[in-house]
């Protein structure tokens, strides 16, 4: 029983953190039709920024500053690496994303000297709590609620504001919305800003839980979050969240089983099955050109 609870708890908290990354993937894909491979690395860099900032500044200053810097990074990446390729084939943009990911990882290796960095412990979030006999951190409990709250805010933003409407229009039809006078570039920038913001918050939750950061820390969470986004139906924010929680819980269950070495393999197998059987995912729009 206690074991089952611990698996469920770790699954839910993983799911929550994946969800925050997955939203970034799904929004960017919805608008640009681009798998932003660098997104997982932005998440890792956010963690590193926090490590370095908190060494110099008090936490209440460091945390917001970290979020601002991460948002700036996301914005910068879009402007420098994706915007010049707007008219290029989709493959070029994706390669550019891979290049950015490579650059971020190598820069992180250079800056950290390849040494694992310990994430600072945050007040309250890092403290322990015992639930049904299982000891865990507060962040595990906070994560799902925070995710749901953020998603509600985000859906309100998308459904009821002007920027949100523009985003939906751009996602539906790139060219036409341009003709309608929507400033495509600023809409895309807003998308990246929101995505990076969530990645920054996600990194705070994730690394509070798992404390150590290496340059490759972002790769796996990034890929899993992408699978979650596909699973939930790419372009759909609630879908990404549901997908992320399902993936997180599945991963935990498999890790707890004798088949733990296939936990990653399972995630990808699930992805392939979903793509082949129901390419629109759980909540995806119907008309797509995926198959």
């Amino acid at each position: 029983m206690q074991y089952a609870v611990s698996i469920l708890l770790s699954g839910v908290s993983l799911g929550g953190q994946y969800a925050l990354i997955a939203i970034g993937y799904t929004m960017v894909y919805g608008i640009l039709r681009l798998i932003n491979f660098a997104h997982g690395d932005v998440f890792m860099v956010a963690g590193l920024i926090m490590v370095y900032l908190s060494a110099a500044l008090p936490l209440p200053v460091a945390a917001p500053l970290m979020i601002i810097l991460t948002v700036a990074l996301g914005f910068l990446i879009e402007r420098a690496a994706y915007k010049p390729l707007r008219s290029a084939p989709r493959m070029s943009v994706m390669i550019s994303a891979i290049g950015v990911s490579y650059l971020l990882q190598n820069t992180a290796t250079y800056v950290t000297g390849g040494l694992p960095q310990m994430y600072p412990s945050l007040p309250f979030l890092s403290e322990n709590i015992t639930i049904l006999g299982t000891s865990t951190k507060w962040v595990t409990i906070v994560t799902p609620f925070l995710v749901v709250a953020l998603v509600v805010v985000l859906t309100q933003l998308i459904n009821h504001t002007k920027v949100g409407m523009a985003m939906r229009a751009v996602a539906k039809d790139f060219e036409t919305s341009q003709l309608m006078g929507i400033k495509i570039n600023s809409v895309i920038s807003v998308t990246f800003i929101i995505g990076s913001l969530l990645a920054a918050v996600g990194s705070m939750l994730y690394f509070t839980n798992y404390s150590s950061i290496v340059p490759l820390s972002g790769t796996l969470p990034g890929l899993r979050a992408f699978v979650a986004a596909v699973f939930g139906g790419i372009g759909s924010i609630p879908g990404a969240v549901v997908g992320a929680f399902l993936i997180g819980i599945c991963e935990s269950i498999i890790k707890g089983s004798p088949w733990s070495i296939f936990s990653d393999a399972f995630t990808f197998a699930l992805l392939i099955v979903i793509l082949v059987v129901k390419p629109t995912g759980l909540f995806g729009e119907k008309a797509t050109d995926k198959v």
């Binding site: 611990s6 000297g113 390849g114 694992p116 865990t136 404390s211 991963e251 707890g256």
Partner: protein, 406 residues
Amino acid sequence: MKKFLALALSGALALTALAGCGGGSAGTPAPESTTSGGAATGGENTVYIGVFEPATGDSGAGGKQEMLGMQYANSETPTVDIGGTTYNVQLVYADNGSDPAKAPTAAAELVGQGVSLVLGSYGSGVSIAAGPIFGDAGLAAIGVTCTNPQVTAGNDYYFRICFLDPFQGTVLANFATEKFSAQKAYLLGELGNDYDQGLMNYFEQAFTAAGGTVVKDSFPQNTSDFSTYLNKAASEGCDVIFCPVSIAYSTQIVKLAADTGLTIPILGSDTLDSNMVLEAAAGSDVQLYVSTFYQEGGSPEFDEGIKAFINGDSTNLTNNGGNDTIAAVTAMGYDAYYVALEALKAAGSTDPAAVKAALPSVTYTGVSGAIAFDEIGDAIRDTAYIKVADTANGVWALETVQTVSE
């Protein structure tokens, strides 16, 4: 325009080949990288020792600590008398990136620089990959802390000064049964990492032979969520956890165990003997035991010197993880350097072939104990130190000295 660029670049390789022709006749090496602390650059009598260590990647942290030992030894004894002449010793570095795919080029880099012999590496996979390159070039290599049997097996040119995985696995399994009367052990390693899996295998063999049972788990590369694994160990009712994983993973595992108040003792291999792991355990009730090559206090003179060396330079301090706790690999790197000097002295020449011929009979008593090689090229060692983390004071304390008679 672009076609000129294409042609120019494609011609670049050919040009380098031609440049190589010119350089080929010149024979004498000219290493570009010179970092050895304080070595006077006067005189032509310089002998080059290759340092084949990871500075990046999974094992980067350990590799850097090992290099610290060599650099300290080099600053302490920057010259060596070979055949009556005094030579300056210069360390030549090549980063193998902890990656067996990059190891061959890093090894080739050292061969190309004309080193007399090679020290390294931390991590066995890279050493196995580089072995044939050194062998083909007739260059002897002294493994410092690569504990996999495959490093020296079937390779005449690879030697090593540390103990082997079968020994270490057995030592820890015996320790688990003796100290904790453990009946059930939880083994956790990285999937596809030969170091982790090899040690787990030997631990299992010795532990089950003593009547225990094991639960084995492997996590995929770059995993960061270990809570499920630790909970599994608890729910299975295991008496000890054995996790011979690299520093990056072990800090996470130990930190998690510390945070969640895990009461099961954790046993680790030589990789866990790092102050980063110690820091992760600091201030908690976690019981952490590691087997290792050297215990601080074993040679007060060395301890004092290396601490001054580490504290004297901010880069060294960072490379050692921010404080001056001495890692066993640093002591091993220090000893390896002196073994190399002994080999050079015995060879009476800087010629790699002569050094290789002299190396098997070299004996040296270093800070980590007496070093001599058997016929395979492995160090003859029968002692491992088991240390326990004193979490209140943030230091390692000697638990016991374990020997295995084979």
